[in-house]
């Protein structure tokens, strides 16, 4: 018997590319227009509950390290002090503060390291950038070997605001 020749011919189905390209371009334009180039931001945590009294316990907490920032009338830094120590007002003042805190913390296995607290006491009109520099100098430094931050003090708080005298 003679085999019947099949009459089915292969047809190529071509996908419609136009709608897909439309949508893809719409997406591309959306992402291009919504793109905002923002520098990387980080933060410093501070924990400041209001009026919470110290719990009664036998543990003796070390007193907070007092960092005083005095401002000029234009808001620039006039003087930086840690306790009674004058650390100057130049760009190295915060490095000195960092070194002083480092000396206080001492060795890494210092048992009081976790308990230490820094109190930032700044003049009312002082530019906020100096406070950030002080907080940063107290909380740690970037290790030159690893490039990673090494933490000193985790607990930072603010003293009550020094409002300018009325009149």
């Amino acid at each position: 018997m003679r085999p019947r020749a099949s009459r089915i011919t292969a047809t190529k189905i071509e996908a419609q590319m136009a709608p897909m390209i439309d949508v893809v371009f719409q997406l591309l334009i959306f992402f291009m227009l919504t793109l905002k180039i923002i520098p990387v931001e980080g933060d410093f945590n501070i924990n400041m509950p209001l009026g919470k009294q110290a719990q009664e316990s036998n543990e003796i907490k070390p007193p907070p390290i007092k960092v005083r920032l005095i401002a000029n009338t234009d808001g620039t830094l006039a003087s930086l002090q840690m306790g009674q120590r004058q650390l100057g007002n130049d760009y190295l003042a915060f490095d000195r503060l960092n070194a002083e805190i480092g000396k206080l913390i001492g060795r890494r296995d210092n048992p009081f390291a976790d308990e230490l607290e820094v109190e930032i006491d700044a003049d009312y009109n002082l530019h906020y950038r100096h406070v950030i520099a002080a907080v940063s100098a107290c909380t740690g430094y970037i290790s030159p070997q690893t490039g990673k931050p090494v933490r000193y003090v985790e607990k930072v708080k603010f003293a009550p605001p020094r409002r300018p005298a009325a009149g």
């Binding site: 997406l27 520098p39 980080g42 410093f44 906020y128 950038r129 406070v131 605001p161």
Partner: protein, 158 residues
């Protein structure tokens, strides 16, 4: 006269390379676009610091407060008063207590009676803001039961 029969041909350009490139571009923009930063206000010129590193785990209960100055196109201050930017509104820092009361109510409705204590206030303040204003804001927030604060700064890469 005899004409030669020629069959008309439609030239179809090869779309594959173009689609490849376009998909690459879309993937790039999708990865680069950061929707988390939508609460950041461009008018605020943050201070920069080396130790300011992004947190390893993102916080889920955050209230972002942008504090800055009215500046012109050149970045010069047009008004010495610092304001809290809330969308198009500008609120004096000392008048922000009412908004904080509202935020406390919302936090408690969303996360329970201790919601405001669990919420962290992220302060994005201009580098030239008087520190007293930040302290006043923290005090107003404390009065409304907020306890956790974070001071935002640009990461300085040396």
């Amino acid at each position: 006269m005899r004409y030669k029969k020629t069959s008309s041909t439609v030239l179809e350009p090869d779309m594959t390379p173009m689609i490849d490139v376009v998909f690459q571009l879309i993937a790039f923009f999708m990865l680069v676009t950061n929707f988390e930063q939508t609460q950041a206000d461009e008018r605020v010129k943050l201070p920069s610091d080396q130790l300011a590193r992004p947190p390893e785990t993102s916080r889920d209960k955050v209230l972002v407060v942008n504090i800055g100055f009215n500046r012109d196109k050149d970045g010069e201050k047009t008004d010495p008063e610092a304001y809290v930017f809330q969308g198009d509104d500008m609120i004096r820092v000392l008048d922000y207590g009412r908004q904080l009361r509202e935020e406390k109510r919302v936090a408690q409705a969303l996360y329970g009676p201790e919601g405001n204590r669990e919420m962290s206030i992220e302060i994005r303040a201009d580098a030239e803001t008087p520190t007293g204003m930040i302290q006043e804001l923290i005090k107003l927030a404390q009065e409304n039961g907020f306890e956790k604060f974070s001071l935002r700064a640009k990461q300085l890469v040396k």
